[in-house]
């Protein structure tokens, strides 16, 4: 249900709507410390290549040599030297001649011709390597701590672009629990709209299979009762003798939010949250676990007008991609969890004609290595839980250190080149990016450019400028765009 302005409608309605929007902007200006957009007029935004963005987040540090950047394969042998291990999976061909990826990702291999693979993403050394700090950096573009609460990438899109469909929340975050997991406070610190305020914050759906509940009337309330309750609310507001006490803006903003909520809860778009509605055979393809179901949910949400959806394999310290031990076996399982859902997501979007206008990103806070922590010359503590020189047990076999000098990012759709390889890491340790390094700041600039947002977009908060890419300095990697 997309509301278009009827060309026959009287001019005044259009204008009133416009004034409402203006009202929202001026409240922001009025509130103490609220951010104000600056240079809205003369800043030129690039032409958008994508309308929606899906970030597939491999939380915990996805090892590039175990996924998208295979190196010399060293099969498990008792007594092998740890430093002989670069990759624990052999490489396989993909649909692109010059791109090989790791065995276990056979389905993704088939769709590599729909996207661009960057192998030279880099992260700064932040002293002690901490997932949540690097994740904060990746998601906000700023290294924590910051003097103001930095907004999440999704909140930037929600703030600058809004939803594709008025009914849908612009920023939806799938798969990450924010309670009951380690480092939850650190996760919350960047899973937020920060100084933009919660209007632009994430709708958090940690369990994709339960997403439908969050847009349904409360358990046990019939649709009839729900509709009557809303009617009653309306009547009480209309009868209220004090309708004019607050500024019209304040009342309007409140009523608009209630309206928006009611509209979403009554809309056909709310069905998008219900993955049970997919045919059984589709559900089966996606159902490799919570992440797989999240990919299916993301597809449905984007089909219905969400602007930014993040789906994560979930960051929980020492679980999933956070392989401090037993790396090979864990990644083997993760391959199975991500391979089919990701490739199916790409194919589904393509089939629906949405891929060209949807940017799908596979990324992680950093890569991993069997022996090197951080990057060459880093003073970061070695955080492997089993420090051995020789691999005597399966649990030693894997990439158990955090590596920040060469990380893979895969991009599909959204105007990126098809079947393109950008950047390169060394073939022997240290596996650093040796061609076209891409910083977090430039990666952000690239993503925002695809979405039609200038990397120099800035807001003033507490009297200082705050840019969508760090200090407005992000330069998009234009080479990856078609």
């Amino acid at each position: 249900m997309k509301f278009e302005i009827d060309p026959e409608a009287p001019d005044s309605i259009v204008r009133r709507d416009f004034l409402k929007k203006l009202g929202a902007a001026s409240t922001a200006a009025w509130m103490s410390g609220a951010p104000q957009i600056v240079r809205g007029k003369d800043l030129e935004h690039p032409e958008a290549k994508a309308d929606a963005c899906i970030l597939l987040w491999m939380g915990g540090g996805m090892a590039a040599p175990e996924t998208f950047d295979p190196k010399r394969y060293a099969p498990f042998e008792k007594g092998m030297a740890v430093d002989s291990v670069l990759s624990t999976f052999p490489s396989i061909d993909t649909s692109v001649d010059n791109i090989k990826i790791c065995a276990g990702l056979e389905n993704i291999a088939k769709v590599m011709d729909r996207g661009t693979l960057i192998r030279s993403a880099m992260q700064p050394d932040l002293g002690s390597i901490l997932h949540s700090r690097h994740q904060y950096h990746w998601h906000t573009g700023y290294v924590p701590p910051q003097t103001v609460a930095a907004p999440h990438l999704g909140s930037w899109m929600a703030r600058v672009l809004g939803p594709n469909n008025d009914v849908m929340p612009a920023f939806i975050n799938v798969g990450q629990r924010l309670e009951g997991v380690g480092e939850k406070e650190e996760l919350k610190a960047f899973t937020t709209a920060g100084f933009f305020g919660s209007e632009y914050g994430p709708m958090n759906l940690p369990f994709p299979e339960q997403a439908a509940q969050s847009v349904r009337p409360p358990e046990g309330m019939t649709q009839d009762r729900f509709a009557n309750r809303n009617k009653l609310f309306r009547k009480l507001v209309d009868q209220n003798p004090h309708r004019d006490y607050a500024s019209s803006h304040q009342q309007e903003s409140l009523m608009r939010s209630m309206d928006n909520a009611y509209r979403l809860l009554q809309s056909k778009e709310r069905e998008a949250f219900d993955i049970e509605q997919e045919p059984k055979e589709v559900r089966e393809i996606y159902d490799t676990g919570r992440f797989g179901r999240g990919c299916l949910l993301a597809r449905r949400l984007v089909e219905n007008g969400a602007r930014f959806v993040e789906v994560t394999t979930e960051y929980v310290p020492f679980l999933h991609w956070d392989t401090h031990a037993n790396g090979h076996d864990t990644v083997d399982r993760l391959h199975k969890e991500i391979d089919r859902p990701i490739s199916q997501l790409i194919l589904d979007l393509e089939e629906r004609g949405l891929l060209d206008r949807t940017l799908v990103i596979i990324a992680s806070e950093f890569s991993r290595d069997a022996i090197m922590e951080g990057k060459p010359g880093s003073t970061a503590n070695d955080q492997a839980t089993h420090k051995v020189d020789q691999i005597t047990e399966a649990k030693h076999y894997g990439l158990h250190r955090h590596f920040t000098a060469g990380t893979s990012v895969a991009l599909f759709g959204g105007g990126v080149k098809k079947g393109y390889l950008y950047g390169k890491t060394a073939d022997e340790r240290p596996l650093v990016a040796v061609e076209n390094p891409v910083t977090v700041t430039d990666l952000h600039a690239t993503i925002m450019t695809a979405m039609g947002v200038s990397p120099k977009t800035e807001f003033t908060i507490e009297g200082r400028p705050f840019y969508v890419t760090e200090d407005g300095k992000g330069k998009p990697v234009m080479d990856i765009f078609a």
């Binding site: 001026s26 409240t27 009025w30 103490s32 410390g33 240079r39 932040l126 002293g127 002690s128 390597i129 700090r133 701590p145 910051q146 003097t147 609460a149 929340p169 924010l178 480092e183 406070e185 650190e186 919350k188 610190a189 305020g197 919660s198 209007e199 914050g201 969050s214 847009v215 009337p217 409360p218 358990e219 009762r225 309750r229 009653l232 609310f233 009480l236 507001v237 009868q239 003798p241 004090h242 309708r243 004019d244 607050a246 500024s247 019209s248 803006h249 304040q250 009342q251 409140l254 009523m255 939010s257 209630m258 909520a261 009611y262 979403l264 809860l265 507490e462 009297g463 200082r464 407005g472």
Partner: protein, 792 residues
């Protein structure tokens, strides 16, 4: 344009300034710093070799002026180029060393607020309005030819002042009483009464101070030991209305660790930028909280927005630093060591050579010095903002901004100082003024602070804490325990010892056959008669896996974690005759497993003796549990009862026994005060309603409702469950006719009687036989109205 002679040296003020003003400062001067570049001062101009004195050919800004690439050239593509002869002036000026008028800045000539205290003469009294605030305001309104806002009616005043001073909705009963009171001074009396409710006042203002001092009970840094709370100290300070100057002294120069968390900031793991080290956090925090200065800009480079410089920021930081502090500009060292100094040397300076403890003491003394007018101004401005919806200086953290009424600010600040920095005194002064007791303004200030004209207090959206507290008041669904490490009553240690005893756990007859089945529900029952008059009473309980406890047919406690001792004060609920405890306990899990229930009631008699009633074989148990929770209608006599089985299991005891004394003591000495949202860690709802993370200092709360909040409020099952409880409570009152019920609903939620139109809408909704669902939905609709969410 001046005549330019190739031979004469360039004159900065006459030759250079006009060129820079014509072509550059629109974007790079004053408050503008496009691309992060400002040429307000010479130092700023030299940043990143934008200009190199003596070397025009190496100066980046000259290159940019010469550049013809539309992406790079300056001024930007669509602006006029710098004419050749002017460019020549700039080059010559650079080559001659870039002479700059000392102290000259392209920054706006900023308003410089007075630092010293000032007590303005009070204008004459008009119309018998004697409150000093009104004397100043009436004079202001007359001078500015502004209309005096209408006075507000009693009901609106009562709701507003209750929310502002203690953060709670008045109950229907309190409202009736207040409205019926005919005493002329009833408003002042109620203000005094609210301010004297120490616990309610503290619970409410805790939110303001936690925000201001970025204190919380969990969050970044707490887990890793990089941060400590000041909660216990803060709660005590508010409870005893500690003078604000004493609070500032104890925060800046902590006498012990209780108040040390504020200056110690957050120690982040890993490396942090130079702008976030502990000394710099200290500099930023004390500047923002107490001086209304944003030192965040100046801790990286000389500020573009006010007069503070990098040296000022580091001077403050060096007061706190343990070791020599190297100054960094934009994260790069500049080979200078900071010298400890504070910002207003006119009243004295910190001795840079003294040790840290002494330096902090000296700073604390300067902050609370009688000649320091800035600290009291900053604070009274915040209090005014809390009550009136907007500061006299706006924004609250930018005290260099011109106030819209300097006399009002100066008078309130000096009055605050002269009255011993008494927070309640200033709150009382504002709340008793006719200005505060005026109708709210619905004029929206759309133009920014310059054009602001006072037209009455502004409506304020309920804070996250106020909203949550209000729903708990309406529904009586407040939790029974909280996270803040504070004691709301006073618990003597010997009492804790006296009330410590080993727990005893019971279950029903199913234990005779081994493990109780999963899903089994039992009903435990105990009757008792107090042997003497009761002074105080409290109850604690826990169960594996879940329980609901009723005392005299009122639900008192519930819990779903066997390791949590739930507790509640029940002094008012104990009757002189027979008292009845009913505890429904439930065993959960996928298969039969251990189950147990524990409860203890403490009766403190007026003669100082105790009686403790604890789950044992004097309790009886029924294996059938009636439906619903209206225990008054349960036919207990018709049910089959047998003695409860006392269990030998020790796992539960290990978890709970050590906490019994403290919990039971707090429950029975603590008053019947409802647990408040400010005492809990932020949950999703509070977060979405705008409670900040408190990683940073955030001194104002959002004024609007967002769509996601509205979705939450529309779909929340917890909210509906709670509202249903509230509906049941309202409907449990005997013989309540629909008209009375409607009146009760309005008084409870909106602190006023309904209009005829509103009554008829509700009459229709209730029908002839109102159901709990009807009342639940009315409660929901009323609590979502703008009138509920935005305080008039």
């Amino acid at each position: 344009m001046s005549c330019f002679s190739a031979h004469a040296a360039v004159d900065f003020a006459h030759d250079v300034v006009p060129i820079l003003e014509k072509h550059c400062t629109e974007c790079h001067g004053g408050e503008e710093a496009e691309g992060g570049f400002s040429l307000n001062t010479r130092d700023l101009f030299l940043d990143d070799e934008t200009a190199v004195p003596g070397r025009a050919d190496e100066s980046y800004f000259i290159d940019l002026i010469l550049d013809t690439d539309p992406d790079y050239q300056m001024p930007p593509e669509k602006k006029k180029r710098v004419p050749d002869e002017q460019l020549a002036v700039l080059k010559q000026w650079v080559n001659e060393g870039m002479k700059w008028e000392p102290g000259f800045t392209f920054g706006e000539p900023a308003y410089e607020p007075r630092f010293a205290p000032r007590r303005p003469e009070l204008p004459a009294v008009t119309d018998g309005r004697t409150n000093p605030v009104d004397r100043i305001m009436d004079h202001y309104l007359a001078t500015e030819k502004l209309e005096r806002p209408d006075p507000v009616d009693d009901a609106t005043f009562f709701r507003r002042v209750s929310l502002d001073l203690i953060g709670l909705l008045p109950s229907a009963e309190e409202t009736r009483k207040f409205l019926a009171d005919t005493a002329p001074d009833k408003r002042t009396k109620v203000i005094d009464e609210f301010l004297s409710r120490d616990l309610s006042y503290t619970d409410h203002w805790l939110t303001f101070w936690n925000d201001l001092l970025r204190n919380d009970y969990g969050g970044t840094g707490f887990i890793t030991g990089g941060r400590t709370q000041i909660s216990t100290w803060l709660y005590d300070s508010l409870k005893t209305n500690k003078p604000f100057d004493a609070m500032v002294r104890e925060l800046i120069a902590p006498p012990n660790k209780e108040s040390a968390g504020f200056i110690n900031g957050i120690k982040w793991r890993g490396t942090v930028s130079a702008g976030q080290t502990l000394p710099i956090q200290f500099s930023q925090s004390i500047s923002q909280s107490f001086l209304g200065i944003n030192m965040k800009c100046a801790s990286c480079h000389d500020s573009f927005i006010d007069r503070w410089t990098l040296a000022d920021a580091y001077g403050l930081a060096a007061i706190y630093a343990e070791e020599d502090l190297e100054i960094h500009r934009c994260d790069k060292p500049i080979n200078e060591t900071a010298r400890a100094a504070w910002l207003f040397p006119e009243i004295g300076q910190v001795d840079a050579k003294a040790d840290k403890e002494e330096r902090l003491k000296q700073l604390a003394n300067l902050m609370t010095h009688p000649e320091n007018g800035r600290v009291p101004r900053t604070l009274v401005n915040r209090l005014w903002g809390q009550l009136m919806g907007r500061g006299i200086v706006h924004p609250l953290d930018a005290m260099q901004t011109e106030p819209w009424n300097v006399d009002l600010l100066d008078w309130l600040a000096s009055d605050f100082q002269e009255n011993g920095y008494d927070l309640k005194h200033t709150l009382r002064t504002i709340a008793t003024s006719a200005a505060y007791q005026s109708a709210t303004s619905n004029e929206f200030d759309e133009t920014g602070s310059d054009a602001y004209r006072y037209s009455g207090p502004l409506p304020k959206r309920l804070t996250a804490e106020q909203f949550v507290d209000a729903t708990w008041q309406i529904t009586q669904a407040a939790p029974t325990s909280y996270h803040a490490p504070i004691v709301r009553g006073i618990v003597p240690p010997e009492l804790v010892d006296r009330l410590s005893f080993p727990s005893s756990w019971v279950w029903g007859p199913s234990v005779d056959q081994g493990l109780p089945p999963h899903g089994e529900k039992i009903l435990l029952r105990r009757e008792f008669i107090p042997s003497k008059p009761v002074r105080a009473a409290g109850v604690i309980a826990a169960a594996d896996n879940a329980f609901v406890l009723h005392l005299n047919h009122q639900q008192i406690l519930s819990g779903e974690r066997w390791s949590d001792l739930e507790a509640a004060p029940v002094t008012q609920k104990i009757s002189k005759g027979t008292n009845l405890i009913l505890m429904v306990a439930e065993n959960r899990g996928p298969k039969p497993n251990a189950a147990g229930a524990f409860c203890a009631v403490r009766l403190e008699y007026e003669d100082g003796t105790d009686e403790i009633i604890v789950t044992d074989d004097k309790w009886t148990v029924s294996e059938t549990v009636p439906n619903g929770n209206r225990t008054g209608q349960w036919k207990l006599k018709e049910m089959k009862w047998e003695p409860a089985r006392v269990l030998p299991n020790t796992t539960w005891k290990k978890q709970t026994d050590a906490r019994i004394g403290q919990t039971l003591a707090e429950a029975s000495v603590g008053s019947d005060h409802m647990v408040r949202a400010a005492l809990l860690k932020a949950d999703d709802l509070m977060r979405s309603l705008g409670r900040p993370n408190r990683d940073q200092i955030v001194t104002s709360r959002p004024n609007e409702l967002t769509t996601l909040e509205a979705v939450d409020l529309s779909t929340s099952e917890t909210l509906i469950r709670n509202l249903k409880k509230g509906a049941e409570t309202l409907m449990s009152q005997p013989d309540l006719a629909p008209a009375q019920l409607i009146e009760e609903l309005y008084l409870t939620t909106l602190t006023r009687f309904p209009t005829e139109e509103e009554s008829s809408v509700l009459k229709e909704a209730l029908g002839t036989k109102p159901t709990v669902e009807d009342v639940t939905d009315i409660l929901w609709a009323l609590t979502m109205t703008p009138e509920f969410l935005i305080t008039r």
